[in-house]
């Protein structure tokens, strides 16, 4: 039993692996900012808030991607509206939109004939059904996200340190924040079709959190997170192939297990 064998024998698994690795790399870039800035909840909300958009688009016969874009734009717009008009804390605003959008999505999906089938497809994706077009889209997004993260590394680091110091250095922290949310949304939008909204969130948060336990530089956290995410995809797909587990969920479980493994190792290292 070789771990490489499934991918050599089955071209569709190789495509799935590529799609998963591309998703893991995009997630590593934006997930690092998400973990360091404490934006995990908004990331979670964004990844599930696309549900009504996707469901609506599928119902009306548009590509799911468009629906996801509309869904996340509504999410970001709604959260900043509540932030501007009320004194409610950010997580209350996110929670409101999160549960509202998710419920709306379920309402829309419940109109369709294959209710649970569609819901599961959106939540867990169809990584085994990834196409060349999916890969092209994901590669383009990865290149764009990587470029933005490189170009804006200084203002983004300032924003992580303190939005006020970003402003006093001449940058616009509100614009940077919205851009960061848009980058998270973009990752969700281009990845959910292959890996599903739940797995996107798993790949956003788990590898970056694991890497943040060890790495001492922003770029290194991203690099380590990308490697851990890709490793999770590789191991998860193997688990799916050999033991017939659900592919997407296996990848998520692996990524989270790697985090706890990392925590354990860190504990050992500190005791020595």
């Amino acid at each position: 039993m070789s771990l490489l064998q499934p991918f050599l024998d089955n071209p569709f698994l190789l495509t799935a692996l590529t799609a998963g690795v591309l998703a893991a790399c995009s997630c590593a870039i934006v997930g690092t900012y998400m973990v360091l800035r404490g934006l995990s909840f908004i990331g979670d909300a964004l990844s599930h808030g696309v549900l009504p958009g996707v469901a609506g688009a599928l119902l009306l016969g548009f590509p799911g991607l468009w629906g996801a874009a509309v869904g996340s734009a509504a999410m970001i717009g709604g959260i900043s509206l509540i932030g501007r008009r009320t004194r409610l804390s950010g997580d209350t605003a996110i929670g409101l939109l999160f549960v509202g959008m998710l419920a709306l999505g379920v309402v829309i999906v419940s109109r369709s004939n294959s209710f649970s089938g569609d819901l599961i497809k959106i939540l867990f994706g169809e990584i085994l059904g990834s196409t060349m077009a999916d890969l092209m889209l994901q590669s383009t997004a990865l290149a764009l996200l990587g470029f933005l993260a490189w170009l804006l590394r200084r203002p983004f680091l300032l924003l992580c340190f303190s939005p006020e110091h970003a402003q006093v250095s001449g940058y616009n922290p509100k614009a940077l924040h919205v851009l960061m949310l848009t980058m998270i949304a973009t990752t969700v939008i281009v990845s959910f079709q292959t890996v599903g909204t739940m797995l996107v969130f798993g790949l956003l948060v788990a590898p970056a959190a694991t890497a943040a336990l060890f790495a001492r530089r922003m770029s290194r956290i991203m690099l380590v997170a990308g490697s851990l995410g890709s490793l999770s995809v590789f191991l998860g797909l193997n688990a799916s192939y050999w033991f017939n587990f659900a592919a997407g969920a296996s990848i998520t479980v692996t990524a989270v297990a790697l985090f706890f493994g990392g925590l354990f190792v860190k504990g050992l290292v500190q005791r020595v």
Binding site: L36, R154, H165, Q167, V168, G170, R217
Partner: protein
Amino acid sequence: MSETHPSVRAVHLHTGYERSNVLPAVDLELFPGHSLALVGGNGSGKTALLRTIAGLLAPISGRLEVLGTTPIKAVRRLAWLGQFTTTNPLLPLRGRDVVRMAFYGERGLWKRITVSDELVVDQALEAMGAAEFARQPISDLSGGQRQRIYLSYVLARRAELVLLDEPMSNLDSGGMLKYYKAVTALGLRGATVITATHNLEDAADCDFALVLGAEESRFGPGRELVASLGHHH
């Protein structure tokens, strides 16, 4: 230009976090090299005024000129340090990395941080006695060590206007001495320094003081104004 322009000029300036909670009108004029102490009890608005001058808070009414222009336009020429700088313990930053961020505005997105910039960073760390722990992760440092790092960051910005909110909080006596020396050097270099403080002795040592009361604010020479406060109590 800068010799004819005041560093900060406020004419009947009102500011505050909300319209229901506005500071008394502030009138003041400071020139390069001047130092000003903001004095007032808790909630008197020292922090709000500093944030307004730094461009972090919009004035409600009145005029405010900073370095001959608006606070927003002057932002890269000033340095501001808030009272409660919290550092996310997850951030992968060493003390020196924080001080280096002083150049992130000036050098923009892609201009290199030069060897002479790095030298400025080292000198700032040296001035605050922070060089020996500058290579440690910021999250491992004590409150006082962190404050020395933040003050090094302020020095490294080489700003024309320096705004400090309770800068001596957490500093030990060694740190305070370094701080006094650094602030004196800033003044000699021609920088204007505004400090919010609870310490009246420090306020008396400043060229000017601004006393923020509930009804009115008073601007005048530091020693005289602080002495008059003594009579009131």
